[in-house]
Every structure is written in structure tokens, then in C-alpha cells.
Amino acid sequence: MLQRIRFLPFLPLYVAIYFLFLYLPILLLPVFSFNDAATTTFPLAGFTTKWYASLWGNSVLLQAARNSLVVGVCVSLLSTILGICAARAITRYRFRGQRAAGGLIMAPLFLPEIIVAVSLLMIALQFGLQLSLVTVILGQVVFCIPYSMSVLVSGFEGFDRSLEEASYDLGETAFGTFRRVTLPVVAPAIVSSLLVTFTISLDEFILAFFLSGTEPTLPVYIWGQLRFAAKLPGVLALGSLMILASVVLLTVAEVLRRRAERRTQAALAH
């Protein structure tokens, strides 16, 4: 492999350009959020933190942030609980239709989200459900379970049944075994799943837009603000904060997931 790459000297250049296209626009966000001008044009006018300061005085925005937090926490809890059930079934048991079940749980990842959003909206209206944060939560859970399940499956796969048997064998009860062995061993994977799903919910727009009614989440609020040119720098500041939060949460999640994987695998002789 190393040999071959030496004969393709343009590869590093290609990779550099690739990453530039991918991340330059995102990097411009924080740059302009500190720029002392209402328009996003070069040259930069000067350094300011006033756009960040202005976020604090905006009660509509703070309400949207609170909505996002509520939705995020509920979605991460619900999809992680359901993900635990699914991941345990997939890793622990053999049953008829196992592969099909796994595939169907992962399918929402590949479905066009806007179509699902429209159909969920139709169903909600059909059943006379009031559009609210509850409908957003239910919609987002469908999309978060695949992520939750993949994170949890990698955490559970190393969890050998013999760990629980060893605990029973040493005199512990079923509940004690769950508390002293099962939970601590899979805890990092569970926390990782909570963080990943929370992050996805925080950034999710399409379902929230269709199903939130009069209670906007942050992405829906941002979309509404874009109609007003004067509000753009504030949106950039808010966007920068959300990127920062996402990166931090996902990094912590990945670190925890890897630690869980390493630990469970280290426990077993091969």
C-alpha cells in the first residue's frame, strides 16, 4: 500500500482540496461571527463579541433553545432505551427474521427524511394530534434509533454472556448482576448513545419544521431568522455555538464508545 501511494503524488493535494471544500464554509461561520459588521464580506471589519452578547437578550431565541433542550433530552432518552432493547436482541439472541429486523431498524437512515416528515405530519393530523414538541420528539426518535443501536451494538458485542453467568455463579442475584456487572460494563456505550442522539436531535431541521407547530426548536428558529439580513450575524454566532456543542458531545461520545469496546474485549480470552 505504502509503495503504491508514492507513485500517486497528486493524492495529498486531492485530499487537501477535499478537506478545504468540506470544512472551509464551516470555518467561515465562527470567523464572521466575531466580525464587527452586519454583512458577511471580506475584508473583515474588526473583532467583536457583540453578536454573542445579543443572543442573551433575545427571549424568542432562548425559548427556542429551551425547546431544543427538552426535545433533545427526551429524544436521547427514548431512542437510547429503545436502542438498548434492539441492540440486546441483535447481539444476544438468535431468532427468525433477525437480519430483517436489524435492516428495518436501520432503514430510516436511508429514507428521504422529507417524505417521512410529510407522512408523519399527515398521520398526526389524521389522528387529530396537536402539533407540538411531543410530535417532534416522536418523529426524531424514529431517526435516532438507528444511530443509538449502532453505537450500542458495538458496546454490547464484547459483552459476553459468561460475565453474567460468572456473577450468578459467585452467588449474586439477577438484579445484583444487572447492577454490579451488566450496567457498569455497558454504561459507557449507553452514555455514548445518549450524547450522539442528543446531538442529532439538536441539529435536526426537517422533522422539527414540519411537526413543531408554534414551538420552534433552534434550527427552525434559525431558518426563520434568515429572512432578515440584519439578524444574520446573530445566527452565525448561534450556529458557531451549536457546532462547538456538537463537536464536544460527539468527541466525548466516541471516546466513551472506544473505551467500552476496549474494556469488554480485554476481559475475554480469545
Binding site: 459468561s162 456473577s167 452467588g171 454490579r180 480470552a269
Partner: protein, 370 residues
């Protein structure tokens, strides 16, 4: 063995659907005995061990542990502890916490708990390693942690599920010696599941050889190696030259057979022995055949030719073709006299002792251990 067995297995069967994992197994294991369940994979030895541990419930039959009917007793209420094949060390706990795991439920005072953990670690020669993390241990150390974690509970019976199979050869042999002396030190019953016949021979007081959910023979290592009851048992426990022999005389305690080129051989007759077609299978171990050099003489001799030769360092394995025998003979010769230099095709003479032959039941005859 005391009058009352530590483990008593009575007519235990275990079905998975129509598959018989255990087929009417009865067995008694004494207090302080090192007992091995030996057999190929799928023979039911692990199912039997897991039934004793309480992880598997027999379809029928009864298991008594130290006189207590235990067939349906859950694993956490049995006086048995297990060393798992993959050791199952708790990954989130260090060595000391792993060993103390079961003690926590006994609510000992802190000093007593510390003392018992330290004693158990001493016993398996892991003194002072109690703060080590599970992922900082070598394979051999994990195995010792698993042993200490089980022994600290002071079980009446220690169950070992292929505990050495994950170790490399050198470490495995070292651990075999340690396991044997550990058992003698603690003096409790050890039940070992293994598919390695040398491990079973080297460690055990008694061995049960299992095939297809049944026990084929229970005996001491020496008895089972020298007097296997069936062809399958003989074959599983090392090399054996088999030959069909014609029954000449069937007396009360023994039989005479015509063993082709080996002449007439008298054999002790196992209980329940029968033959339908007047022929029987007899066997002789490869190491009971011996090369004769130069003008050396022996009361019973055969001539043959070297067909194949394999050098094993201290010994050489020879395959000898003998006119009048359907199968060539295997033999093992130490390399003191130059067996390793015998060319293929060399004419040789070999000596045998007719008393070294054993009469083997064909397995379909259904000779079963009682």
C-alpha cells in the same frame, strides 16, 4: 472416596429439541477427587458441567451435590464455583475487586474480606497484583484471577470448563502442574472438562470418557489408557493398532483369539462381552511394539518393512508394513539406537508381548459403563 459421593448424577438426560446432548448419564464423583470429563466437542461434557453448575437444567434425571437434591437449584445457591473457558474477568473491576466480588454478598468485615482476598491471590501466586486492571493481565494471569475468584468462595466443588485451552503449549503445561498441586493443597473436588487426553491423563484421579451424550468409560488414567473398553475410547486416548481377530475359545473369564500374524492371543474378557459373527476387535498400543536390532532375540517376533518415518525429537514414529496384515502397524521407538536413521523400505524385526493386547468392544455393541 467417602461413602457419600460429593456429586451424584442419576439418569440425567438433556434434550435440545430432538438432539440428545446427554443420554441417561449416571456418575458419582467423590469428595476431594480430581475428576475429568473427556471427549470430543459436542460429546455433552460441557452440558454436564453446566448442569452441575446450575446453568443448564436437565430434561430428566437428578443431580445431588453433597447429598442435597440440586437439579433445580439456581446457580447462585449451589456450593459450586466455576472457572469459565474465557475466564469472564469483570472488565470494569481490578484484580482485587474481581476476587472479592462474591465475598461482598457475605458481608464479612473489611479486614476478614481483605485477608481472604490476599490468601486467594497467594494461592494462585498473584500476590500483590490486586490493583491491576483486567486489560493489563496476560492470559495466564487471567486464568489465575478466575481461579482465585472461584476458590475464595470456598466451594465444595470447583468446576473448570476447558480452562487451559486458550493458553499456549508451554504455559498450558506449566498450569497443568500448578492446577494439580492447587487441587491437592485445597483438597476439594475439582471437575475438569477437557478435550485434551494428555491433560486428563496427567491431572485426574479418574476420567469419564464421553461420546455422543453417553459416558463410554469411567476409570483411573492408567486403567483407561491400558484397558480401554471400546475401540472409540482406545482411539481417543492416543495411538492404537486395531485388528480383527477370529474368536477361538470363549471361556468364563477370558477368551482366546487368532490375531492373524500375531498368533493365538489370550485376553481378559470384560463384563457383558458378546460377539455376533465370531470375530472381535483387539488392539495394541504403538509403544508396546519394539524394534529388534542385530541378532537380538525375543519370544514373539514379526518381520516387516519401514513404510514411513516421522522424527519427533526424543522419539521416532514408524509405520511398518507386515505381510498378512491388512493395516500397517504404528510404533513409537526412542531414538537411542538409531530408529531415526532407519531408511524407508528397510527390513526390520519387531518384538511384541501378547499380554499387551486388549479386547475392545465395538461401539455399536453398546457396552456401557455402569
Amino acid at each position: 472416596m467417602s461413602d457419600r459421593p460429593m456429586i451424584s448424577i442419576e439418569n440425567v438426560s438433556r434434550y435440545y429439541g430432538v438432539y440428545k446432548a446427554l443420554d441417561d448419564v449416571s456418575l458419582q464423583i467423590g469428595e476431594g477427587e480430581f475428576f475429568s470429563l473427556l471427549g470430543p466437542s459436542g460429546c455433552g461434557k460441557t452440558t454436564l458441567l453446566r448442569s452441575i453448575a446450575g446453568f443448564d437444567v436437565p430434561t430428566s434425571g437428578e443431580i445431588r451435590i453433597d447429598g442435597v437434591a440440586s437439579t433445580l437449584l439456581p446457580a447462585n445457591r449451589r456450593p459450586t464455583n466455576m472457572v469459565f473457558q474465557n475466564y469472564a474477568i469483570f472488565p470494569h473491576l481490578d484484580v482485587g475487586e474481581n476476587v472479592a466480588y462474591g465475598l461482598k454478598r457475605l458481608r464479612l468485615d473489611a479486614a476478614e474480606e481483605r485477608r481472604r482476598v490476599a490468601d486467594a491471590l497467594d494461592q494462585v501466586r498473584l500476590t500483590g497484583l490486586d490493583r491491576r486492571k483486567a486489560n493489563e493481565l496476560s492470559g495466564g494471569q487471567r486464568q489465575r484471577v478466575a481461579l482465585a475468584r472461584a476458590l475464595v468462595m470456598r466451594p465444595k466443588v470447583l468446576l473448570l470448563d476447558e480452562p487451559l485451552s486458550a493458553l499456549d503449549k508451554k504455559l498450558r503445561e506449566q498450569m497443568q502442574v500448578e492446577l494439580r498441586s492447587l487441587q491437592q493443597a485445597v483438597g476439594i473436588t475439582f471437575i475438569l472438562v477437557t478435550h485434551d487426553q494428555y491433560e486428563a491423563l496427567a491431572l485426574s484421579d479418574r476420567i469419564a470418557v464421553m461420546f455422543g451424550g453417553c459416558i463410554a468409560q469411567v476409570a483411573t488414567p492408567k486403567e483407561i489408557y491400558q484397558h480401554p473398553r471400546t475401540r472409540k475410547v482406545a482411539d481417543f486416548l492416543g495411538g492404537m493398532n486395531f485388528l480383527r481377530a477370529r474368536l477361538l475359545a470363549d471361556r468364563k473369564g477370558d477368551v482366546s483369539v487368532d490375531a492373524a500374524k500375531f498368533g493365538t492371543v489370550n485376553l481378559a474378557k470384560p463384563v457383558g462381552f458378546t460377539t455376533s459373527d465370531g470375530h472381535v476387535t483387539v488392539g495394541i498400543r504403538p509403544e508396546r511394539l519394539r524394534l529388534l536390532w542385530d541378532d537380538e532375540k525375543a519370544p514373539h517376533e514379526l518381520t516387516g518393512r519401514v513404510e514411513n518415518r516421522a522424527y519427533f525429537g526424543e522419539v521416532t514414529h514408524l509405520t511398518i508394513g507386515v505381510d498378512g496384515l491388512e493395516q500397517p502397524l504404528s510404533m513409537v521407538e526412542t531414538n537411542d539406537y538409531g530408529a531415526d536413521d532407519l531408511p524407508v523400505g528397510a527390513e526390520i524385526r519387531l518384538a511384541y508381548d501378547p499380554d499387551a493386547f486388549v479386547l475392545l468392544a465395538d461401539d455399536e455393541m453398546g457396552l456401557r459403563a455402569r
